[in-house]
Amino acid sequence: MIKRSLFALSKPKLTYDLLDTSLQSVDEIAVPGSLTLLLPEKIDSAKKALIGPGDAVKRGQKLKLYDDSTPYVLSPVAGKIKGFDSYSDDFGNTATYILIKPDPSAKGDDQCAQTDLEQTLEFAADYLGQIPGELPVSTLTNPNYDIRTIVVTGADTDILCDTCQFVCTAYAGLMVAGAKILKAMTRADRICITVPENLSAQVDLDGFNVLRTSDTYPSNLPAMVMKDHLGKQLSPGMTPEDMGVCFIRPEALVSLARTYETGQPVFDKIITLIDKGGKRCRVKATIGTPISKIFSCFNVQINEQDRIIIGGPMRGHATYTVHHPVVPDMDTIMVQDRDVIPELSDNACINCGECIRVCPANVPVNLLVRYLEADLYEEAADRFDLESCIECGLCGYVCRARIPLYQYIRLGKQELLTLRENA
């Protein structure tokens, strides 16, 4: 953990990590005896489900809960549905776990559900939304957006993470091929890629518009890339998609290229595991593999009151169970020992101004948090720039009173959306 420097006249500087070149190879993890798929829809007992326990599934079969539902997952293996469970994320959104028992005896042509893959956006949206790297199909097909620019996040958005950099350098050819496929599918006329300015690896990025990003956190975040490299400042409440820019992981392009090359969807996700000592391991695991499997493969001991973080230390989220599965957008898993978990508090803001000096979006966090604590979300957005926040987490990182500022802000945004929807 990076501590406050002894001399703190200037604002603290967190830097992105460059690609860990000592890790050249990826360790593959065999398909475990049970897979868990995360389907972002909750179980509604009033409706008749399309799938049920005991159903046989094929590799690549599309699984939906109900006739009228849009979210789907693809089964990465041929096997049987064992059961269902419900899951809720940190905002209380419920989703469904589908437990699948792989059947290694399934062989031959009947193993694969879909064989002819069309190279159209409609087909990709209908079938390839869950390939490793998570292709943002819902954004690309949304009629409200006019996506003209696609930015590939070759530079990871969070510190410590280097999965995106690894994918870019190790699979550059596939990525370029994937970009060509995507460009042909969509109306995008410009494909950019963010690359850390200090990255020395030489990669042939044919057809990409290379954006060299600085190593200072949070310059790789979408809002900062928009401002620094694309010359577009996001207005409060606007997303990059509103301005015709779609951000996409390099792994999504790689998976896209591999899918069309092999003629069937791929399911192996590249993940960087950062253990308690900060050592990295590169893993290739099938989507749906419980993360506990990865820990046991690398002998990472998880004790009571440790913290498992999916994503990086500034923007990730903590999971409450080691049975959480590998999902398409999971780039990094980080384990924190109970002894190094920083303590938070319920102190009031002391107005020290550390957050003001560190905020890249000039949000008056010290005033904002007072309104958020009092549940005054509309006022917080109108007068104190709640929606200008780019969600980098630096305010919570420097807070002297140890207030969970970033949590307040994200909760505030969520509540604001709910208020507006109900209005």
């Binding site: 501590k3 440790d306 903590a318 109970r338 101004g353 000039n362 969970p404 949590q407």
Partner: protein, 321 residues
């Protein structure tokens, strides 16, 4: 590891390690040179006043926390800093009951009634000092406080002498003596060099905002220079004002108190400059010999007003949106 209970919380999962305790510990470390000098200079009574002020301030906090059924938070040492600063501003011979009353006002009226840590609109110590100045000015009279002491320098409070005798009194105070603490005054407010060293330490550590300190000192020097340039025979030179009385303590330790000072850069500069400006106005035109306490209370008052001058947030007022 099937049913391992994990800690779940929100990002960020790192912290730079800063805390209220660290902040207040650094304040105390920074105050030590000046406080030690006061103890060496004024003897055991000074030690008594400093310890009584610090401990009673902490005790008031505990009593109030228990009475109001709040979490006892003396562990972050904020009350200790309030008490220590109070002790450093009063003479070494102050009776015990005045010290205790002063810290009572400082901690309870200055801080607790506004909701505790972070809620105080004024510097708590200064609230205590201001009430004492109004109620018992005799106990804050540095000239009578040290009558039983034998000093090898002019045992006159410089600012009081200036007020009563005019610029003719200035001959007995050299800037060097003022800086090295050869003057009578509050226990910890005489040793200018110690305060400057402690203050610079605090600024470098980032616990005192340098903009406020620099602007405050600039305010004092510029305003005093203007007065001195216009009427050199009626007003004291700028450096005298800087080194005498509470000016340095005010600039480095009192004006920078977090919750009563602005956080944006331009407001910090305005706030500091106005503070220095008011100090000199009160000294040169007002009736009080030392205006630091009241000047800082005044700028505390305008803090919320000027702190709305702030940079535009990302994406606000952009035409391409």
């Amino acid at each position: 590891m099937t049913n391992t209970k994990l800690i779940v919380s929100h990002a960020p999962f790192w912290h730079n390690g800063d805390s209220l305790f660290q902040q207040n510990l650094n304040f105390i470390i920074a105050l030590i040179p000046a406080a030690l000098f006061g103890i060496l200079h004024f003897g055991a009574p000074a030690l008594g006043v400093l310890t009584l002020a610090t401990s009673s301030a902490m005790l008031w906090e505990v009593i109030m926390s228990v009475l109001s059924k709040k979490k006892v938070a003396i562990g972050n040492m904020e009350s200790a800093v309030i008490g220590l600063l109070f002790g450093m501003m009063v003479p070494a011979t102050m009776p015990w009951w005045v010290v205790i009353t002063g810290t009572f006002v400082a901690v309870i009226l200055g801080k607790f009634v506004f909701g505790g840590t972070g809620g105080n609109p004024f510097h708590p110590t200064l609230v205590g000092m201001a009430i004492l100045t109004m109620s018992w000015p005799a106990f804050l009279d540095f000239d009578t406080a040290y009558v039983s002491y034998q000093f090898d320098f002019t045992a006159l409070a410089p600012l009081v002498a200036l007020k009563s005798q005019g610029t003719s009194a200035l001959a007995s105070f050299s800037n060097y003596n003022l800086l090295m603490g050869n003057e009578v005054g509050g226990i910890g407010s005489t040793f200018g060099l110690g305060i400057i060293i402690g203050g610079i330490y605090l600024m470098l550590r980032g616990y005192a905002r340098w903009e406020i300190v620099v602007a405050f000192i600039a305010g004092v020097l510029i305003t005093a220079t203007i007065f001195f340039a216009l009427h050199p025979d009626a007003y004291a030179p700028p450096l005298f004002h800087l080194f005498a009385g509470y000016t340095l303590l005010g600039a480095f330790f009192l004006a920078v108190e977090n919750s009563s000072s602005p956080v944006n850069r331009i407001p910090m500069l305005i706030y500091g400059f106005l503070g220095g400006f008011m100090v000199i106005l009160i000294r040169n035109i007002g009736i009080y010999p030392d205006g630091t306490v009241l000047a800082i209370l005044l700028i505390n008052l305008i803090n919320p007003l000027i702190d709305i001058i702030r940079p535009k947030a990302l994406g606000k007022g952009v035409s391409n949106a």
